[in-house]
Amino acid sequence: MKKSLKKLAAISIAGIMAWSLTACGNSKTVSQETQASTAKAETKEGSKENGKVLNVHIDVEVASMDPQIATDGTSFEVIADTTDGLYELGADGNPVPALAESVEKSGDGMTLTYHLRDAKWSNGTPVTAKDFVYAWKRAVDPKTASEYAFIVGIAGIKNADAVAAGEKSLDDLGVTAVDDKTLKVELDVPVPYFESLMAFPTFYPVNQEFFEKAGDQYATTPDTLLSNGPYKITSYEPAATTITLEKNKDYWDADKVKLDGMKYQVIKDSQQAILAYQNGDLDVVTLSGEQVEQFQADPEFKNIMAGYLWYMSPNTKVAGLENLNLRKALSLSFDKEAVCNNILKDGSIPAYFAVPTLLATGPDGKDYRETAGSNYFKTDKAEALKYWEAAKKELGVDTLTYTMIVEDTESAINVAQFLQSEIQTTLPGITITLEQMPKKNRVERMQAGEFEIGLTRWGPDYADPMTYLNMWTTGNPNNYGFWSNKDYDSIIESSKKGELALDPVKRWKALADAEKIVCDDAVIFPVYQKGNAVMQKAGVEGIDFHSIAINRYFKNTVKN
């Protein structure tokens, strides 16, 4: 038996060796791989010398590189790395001209004529006004079914809504190419945040000839992607886990771009992400809530304010929740500081407002929140109890039970459980039960009005309070609670298309008044404005973090 064992072992080892050989394919692939890895080692060495390739963590794949189709922050970010629009957002969040060299505004502010600078696509063809016209028409074309078609209407571009609804032809859209270098935009109404919107990817140009040649494959490989921005894509495929970019040498502002390139790495497991960061594979990583405590003392730790407002939406069609005193009681009954400092710990701030901070700058040059104040919904448990007593009398009840629907992400559930216990402790007699579900189901239930209370969030699309306030107008699909107020509707309507739209100073004041109505009526129960916690390697500087549209902007980034 002993001999046979030795033979068996020999056979097994031979088997393993044979397997490892077949697994390598053939010797050619082996040598190719070694070559590739040596080549990589060389570039790594090289990059260490110059320190110029930035390795960035993302936790979800890019859903689309097509500027008129993309809808999520990650896609927007990578699109913005490779594409410039008329404007870009500066480090302070305010728009600065990009492809627009100069602009002429008509007296009534309804016609804008943009003169484009000399810029080239990465295939050598010049960027022209026609590329903008083509892209914008594509965005509102019902055939494209772009989810962001509405934003062309938000920008006030003439006939955008009618074209998007299929009521008017594409040629009626208020944008024309006077010549290759001149873009004329006609508006229905002057829009104070028009320039900020022009930094939004939906308004980025697309070269028609290239687009049509690529056909179905457009924006799915480096060959079917065109760049006119700071970087160009060198490796990408749909839902790729790594995306590499190199500096676009033909970029009009190439002198400002200090990085040689960038590499995006999708890592969904936050623990592995931080391990890769510590291993030196990443220069920037986003932390999850539970990691914050561990790293917040680290000098490389950074808190970034994001735009998302998280709030509870009561359905005013549900018995009891139509009662103002009950809504007020609920809105004051929970400790928001504790939500931010004990539960989330990621730099989120308590929301004493319905329109987030650092969103919009007014005609006075100040942040909207500075003008409008942040004194709504201050947690006051004694006051909440008084409102609850009043509500009990008005409603003729002693106990109430409501179900709150929550999406099934860890942080949302943690927050919801805390809110549940806070409300139940502060307001004896009220019972809150939680129901978890995927986000899509929550949105569906809320839009259909099949809920009592929902914990939800809203991310801003443009730098104006309207991106929030528009939500609570009568009949708006995101007015989940079915609240309705005529005065409120008329302020919003007038600020969008009426008298107020023509007077920025008055409009700014009116928007603050509108917000006050929403807060006084406890239409929503704001909880917090989301913060993000990131780690950023020492020596990496100049990443512009924004709370709207493009969350990170790497044009001015340096890596020492």
């Binding site: 064992l5 033979k7 397997w19 749909p238 391990l275 510590q278």
Partner: protein, 314 residues
């Protein structure tokens, strides 16, 4: 044999169609749609549904889907990679999962067989005990524990292997995920080999073979192992499929662009075509491997084949 295979192939095709139809029905019952997004208006949702034909009744969509599928068109992704054809989406991902899964199966089977044989032949010795320990660990510890341990020790600590999967160094970066995934196979195969071999070794025909004076390696490998293989293949078949179709957690930990994580994302975001295609591939592989195993049985043990062909009476 040929008739048998042909018959089995026909049944397999019918099964696949039935699975596909049930999938369509189940997706119909799933709450939500790919387009439940806050920012979408009713009219836009209607437009999108119209664009992708989602406003059609389920049986009609099923027939359309099968029609297109025959030509190799599996539709487009709605959410994960908007408007990208599923074929493009899977073209790069499927080979990665199959490769790593295949490596894991091979590695796991070879080591498992070796350990199992060792334990059986050295029954009640230290080798036997060690094999049992490995088996218990391999079966009870989930693969992500191995994945985390390996990526921390061999990846982060000593830098032998990359922490994350790299397309340009596919072989080197597939080592850790392969080992992590192989552990369960090692344990299962070792356990079954040990038990079966012990039974076979004690049987009369082994005694006969031994008394005929056959060389020992022939005795163990041809007479012993061959007879012990049938139950092992039975447990191995589903393992092969589940490994080749990718593991969610191991893919997540090593950031592997495979199809395991894709399926989960697709289900969460109601990306119907991705779900249907992946479930279809999964079913097809499963049925294919089961068919292959049945044929293999026949080769290893003629009694099974003959019984199936109806010519064999006990």
């Amino acid at each position: 044999m040929k008739r048998y295979v042909a018959k089995r192939l026909c049944i397999s095709l019918a099964t696949l169609l039935a699975i596909l139809f049930i999938l369509f029905l189940m997706l119909e019952l799933m709450p939500g749609s790919p387009f439940n997004d806050e920012k979408l208006t009713q009219s836009q949702v209607a437009l999108l549904n119209d664009k992708y034909g989602l406003d059609q009744p389920v049986y009609y969509r099923f027939i359309q889907y099968v029609k297109h599928m025959v030509t190799g068109d599996f539709g487009v992704s709605y959410t994960i990679s908007k408007n990208t054809s599923i074929t493009t989406l899977l073209a790069s991902r499927l080979p990665v999962s199959i490769r790593i899964g295949g490596q894991a199966v091979l590695l796991g089977t070879v080591i498992g067989l070796f350990l199992g044989l060792l334990a059986a032949l050295k029954h009640n010795t230290i080798f036997d005990t060690l094999t049992t320990v490995v088996s218990v660990l391999g079966v009870s510890l989930p693969s992500y524990v191995f994945a985390l341990a390996l990526s921390y020790s061999l990846g982060y600590r000593v830098h032998w292997f990359p922490l994350l999967y790299q397309q340009e160094a596919a072989m080197k970066s597939s080592v850790l995920p392969t080992i992590s995934l192989a552990m369960f196979t090692v344990a299962t195969v070792a356990r079954f080999t040990r038990t079966e071999m012990l039974e076979v070794l004690g049987s009369d025909y082994m005694l006969l073979a031994e008394s005929k004076g056959l060389p020992e390696w022939r005795l163990i490998l041809v007479h012993g192992l061959k007879n012990a293989l049938i139950p092992i293949i039975t447990v191995l078949a589903p393992l092969v499929v589940s490994l080749m179709t990718g593991s969610l957690v191991v893919e997540k930990i090593f950031s592997i662009p495979g199809i395991g994580s894709l399926l989960v994302t697709a289900i969460q975001s109601n990306d119907y075509n991705v779900i249907v295609t992946l479930a279809f591939i999964y079913s097809a592989m499963y049925i294919g491997i089961m068919l292959f195993v049945d044929i293999l049985y026949g080769i290893i043990d003629p009694r099974i084949r003959l019984a199936k062909e109806g010519n064999y009476e006990h």
